[in-house]
Amino acid sequence: MMIQNQLLAIVLLPLLAALVVGLSGSLPRVWAHRLTVFAVAMSCILSVDVAIDQLTDQASPLNYNLYTWAQFGSFSMHVGFLIDDLTATMMAVVTFVSLMVHIYTVGYMKTDPDYQRFFSYISLFTFAMLTLVMSNNFMQLFFGWEAVGLVSYLLIGFWYKKPTAIFANLKAFLVNRVGDFGFLLGIAGVYFVFGTLDYAEVFEQVNNGYTDLLIPISDDIFWSATTFLCIGLFIGAMGKSAQVPLHVWLPDSMEGPTPISALIHAATMVTAGVFMVARMSPLFEQSEIALNFILIIGGTTALFMGFLGVIQNDIKRVIAYSTLSQLGYMVVALGASAYSVAIFHLVTHAFFKALLFLGAGSVIIAMHHEQDMRKMGNLKKYLPITYVTMLIGTLALIGTPLFSGFYSKDAIIESVQFSQLWASGYAYICVLIGVFFTALYSFRLFFMVFHTTERMDDETKSHLKEPSAVVWGPLIALAIPSLFIGYLLAPSMLSGEYFDGSIQVTEQHNSIAGIVEHYQHPFSLALGSVSHWPLWLAIAGVFTAYMVVVKKPELATKARKLLGPVNHILENNYYFDKIYINYISAGGVGLGHRFWKWIDVGIIDGIMVNGTAGLVASISAKVRHIQTGYLYHYVFVMVLGLLTLLGWLYWTALNH
């Protein structure tokens, strides 16, 4: 009973704080952050406690229902929790990053008039994310899934006067809804095949050899229901985890305040799709088509979004494209059945990417909300703490040996190499080349912002200083795990023991086995990296960045000219936005307009309804002398007619 209360407290404390802060109109500002920070801190401590118990196997996995949501005969839908290694890890990461972001917000949003509303939203987000990861069934998963989407929508549009912000939030919600369309059909597919929406029951059937059903698409085309539902669920993940071609909302989401870029659009919500697929590992193992599909989407995202990171000049957009690319890495790991490696990268990425975003936020505050890197330069002189922590984050991101990102990213590349699926070759090339571009855009940002000449105006320069402790405190708190978490977790993560029980891999997909076989001490792994491609590709990337940014800036201009049309494609983001906005959304509205004007107004009303009325009118014009034109006369005649009819029917029935 104790543990159940604890879990309830973890979820409900942030919700309670969000409601109190959000609904009490005149709460003082200090109380807004005191309440929410306290609630999330408690939630974090309790979550870490749960995680320790789960991961050290002091507690066995928990799966129970809180209440019945709906029941139809033997089929019921519940609200409940499933707590195991995977969930507990996610809970700890989510609440920790959320706590850091709460604290950081105290400084970042200090002068914002809607301070209370912001805290209410981020606490509400924490609640929604926790219901998502702790769910033990698909219905609740969908609830959390859409709830985080709602809060993301509210937060991207937090500055609702900015036209770009309210464009971006609508776009984010609608693109996610396209993904959710697939997700919902995937859930319906789960019910179709398994007759239940409960994870445990679904997995049990999978493990006991269920029979796959066929979905008739046309008279002679049938799809495997399992493949269908896996791809449906994954389309949901493509929306939430911003995979090509549903990635377009994430760069625009940078219109929101920076703390939420760190929390929602880097560390937690966007990884929900990765988490979901890992959670469903027993299901995805059943469909090689789905896994190949995932490999292709993930590989494409990892590489092609990395390209875009290189040409951005807005500091937040560079990190946004980096996030897209790194999500692609995680997805590739999922496709290679290396679910635990995907979660490993999710965890390390959560720390270093939140760190990078918050560091960028610190730069943005210091620069008085200037985000263009071309107007920065040599900030290391003014922002030493931000400089050092950003350096740690950047090194972690590019996979420097011993840093956290090294272990998780190398494991992804290796597992793809070991994967036997046909799409793994493509994905392998993508993630390998991606390493070079990751290093290039990361250090391009780093050099442009912190080194080179000071390009800001004198007014800005005179105010440049490190922001307050609530801002740099979380940077340090995130820098520490960015450094060490990979080293610490690598032994259990890479030996495959970490998620024992919560993740299932079938024999023929077991790409991690190769890693386990070659497993060495984390330190030796770091040493051994000199004999592998990724390290040298990363070094080449850093060197290239150094050359084009610091040493010979004219090289960048030359390269742009040389690439010509390619550069044009990149600057238009592969034309995704243009196609979506000009053709799909404008086309949808245009179609609606035509339906309305031609069919509703033209045919139905114009010809059928008013036409009939006109006919009646023209007939009645001829028999006008007996018509008075008053409605009640018509009604009277109608009633009379009906009574006649009634009488006739009654009479015939009696004489029947």
Binding site: F72, F75, F173, L174, Y191, V589, L631
Partner: protein, 517 residues
């Protein structure tokens, strides 16, 4: 406790008596007294409906709170009442929404207040009568009579083009009703015997053996009557006009209750009386439902008038109700009885939920209209700057309209989609388009009206909601969240009746074999 109290009669006649008191008693002169009497009457009616719900034995499918009195002896037409798990929640919804409309129009209506409120009270009683009648002719009388107050509400208190809208509304629905009456008379004669004359008990009609051809004729008679009311595509064009011209209260009742009359008719008459014809025509009905969801969703996207937009949205959402009802036949035929129960219950939940959400959205638009006197989206922009509290509620209802999980708008659609996937992937996929379309038209409207900088002087002069408006919005918001987070209690009330419908009424009526009494 209720054995001696004719509670259904009270639910019908109490509001009508209240209407009489304010028209002939307090009248126009004592405006405050008139409003208070109307409100108290509506509150007592609502409390009575809750008492009925509380006393209702939801473990049984039988009709409860039965009343039976002779009325027109010569034709065997009786005043007989009773409710089951399908009709009772609709009565509670009707009584609730009437109370809400009376609160929301407090001091807002300047013209002939007593008549305005009396019209709503009368309509409440008559609509309760529609849901409570177990005699087909009594049902028909209530069904027709209910149109009169709505006709007056639009015709007297409506917008500039109200006469066109009322006539369209009246002729459309009256046209449908004629066929209903013929069908009911025919069935009454069939159910009766030569010795005792006609029998208009609806539930006796359920156990009639009817041959296939006759079923088809009856099916079309019912279809015309009920499809116009829902409304289903392509007989829906009266609804946007009626909504646009109706005053706020009229729109609320129209969307929240009157549309449900149509689907209630399907459940009470069409499915149980002509199951074989319904089964045969189920695919046709499913296609019409999907047209409502997808086609109307696109049409809603093109609207610039907020009321028209929500009116089209209503048609699209009602598409889920008809879809849920008509997929049940294939499900039963394929032995997916659980899914059939889920589909029909989903349809019922959607009826109730749509009552809250569309009602709330029309109230929200009414709140905007009272301040700016325009329904055009283009006349707004940046309202959130001046009405932050209102913005929160409007956001909640918009999200509910977009089917966000955690709100009641999600529950019915989710169940219907889950159930329809069992029948066909394509049905589920087209119905699932609502996820994208409903979000697009609702949130795009929200963005243009609420977000952005203050767009003009009229917007900057808007005041945030007052206590009266807040009470109305908060109560609906709580209901939307309650049934979104925990629909089980509502489902439990409906469950036995729906199960009975499936077990006994959806079976073939071509011969007496296999029919349960």
């Amino acid at each position: 406790m209720l054995n001696n109290i004719p509670i259904l009669s009270l639910l019908i006649w109490l509001p009508i008596i209240g209407a009489g008191i304010i028209v002939f008693g307090t009248g126009q002169k004592h405006k405050q007294a008139t409003q208070w009497i109307a409100l108290i009457t509506a509150m007592i009616t609502f409390i009575l409906s809750l008492i009925a719900l509380n006393e209702f034995d939801s473990s049984r499918y039988y009709l409860q709170f039965l009343e039976d009195k002779s009325w027109i002896d010569s034709l065997n037409i009786r005043y007989s009442l009773g409710v089951d798990g399908i009709s009772l929640p609709l009565i509670v919804l009707t009584s609730l929404m009437t109370m809400i409309v009376i609160i929301s129009s407090w001091n807002q209506v300047k013209l002939r207040v007593s008549h305005y409120l009396a019209a709503f009270l009368t309509m409440c009683g008559l609509m309760n009568g529609v849901f409570a009648s177990t005699d087909a002719i009594l049902f028909y009388v209530m069904w027709e009579a209910m149109l009169v107050p709505m006709f007056l509400i639009i015709g007297i208190w409506g917008g500039p083009n109200r006469i066109y809208a009322t006539l369209k509304f009246f002729i459309y629905t009256f046209f449908g009703s004629v066929f209903l009456l013929i069908a009911l008379i025919y069935l009454g004669i069939q159910a009766g015997s030569e010795a005792s004359g006609a029998n208009f008990n609806i539930f006796d009609m359920h156990s009639l053996v009817i041959d296939a051809d006759t079923q088809k004729l009856l099916f079309f008679a019912f279809l015309i009557a009920f499809a116009i009311k829902v409304p289903m595509w392509p007989v829906h064009t009266w609804l946007p006009d009626a909504h646009v011209q109706a005053p706020t209260g009229g729109s609320v009742i129209l969307a929240a209750i009157m549309l449900k009359m149509g689907t209630y008719g399907f459940l009470r008459f069409m499915l149980p009386i002509v199951p074989d014809a319904s089964f045969e025509m189920a695919n046709f009905m499913i296609v019409l439902s999907l047209v409502a969801v997808a086609y109307i969703g696109f049409v809603a996207l093109a609207q610039t008038d907020m009321k028209k937009l929500i009116a089209y949205s209503s048609i699209a959402h009602m598409g889920f109700v008809t879809l849920g009802l008509f997929i049940s036949f294939s499900l039963v035929a394929n032995n997916h009885v659980e899914a059939a129960v889920m589909g029909i219950q989903g349809a019922l939940i959607q009826m109730i939920s749509h009552g809250f959400i569309s009602g709330a959205l029309f109230l929200c638009i009414g709140i905007l209209y009272e301040r700016v006197h325009s329904r055009e989206i283009g006349d707004y922009g940046g309202v959130v700057n001046v009405m932050p509290k209102f913005a929160m509620y409007f956001m909640l209802f918009s999200m509910a309209n977009a089917g966000l999980p955690g709100t009641s708008g999600f529950v019915g659609e989710f169940m219907v989609i889950l159930a329809s996937f069992q029948v066909s992937f394509w049905i589920a996929a087209i119905a699932g388009l609502t996820l994208i379309l409903a979000a697009a038209y609702t949130l795009w409207m929200y963005k243009r009206v609420m977000f952005g900088d203050i767009s003009n002087d009229k917007v900057s002069a808007m005041e945030d909601i007052d206590l009266r408006e807040k009470i109305v919005l908060v109560s609906l918001a709580l209901l939307v969240l309650l049934f979104g987070l925990w629909p089980a209690p509502l489902l439990d009330v409906m469950q036995p009746s729906v199960q009975h419908l499936i077990d006994c009424n959806l079976v073939s009526k071509l011969s007496a074999e296999g029919m349960c009494s």
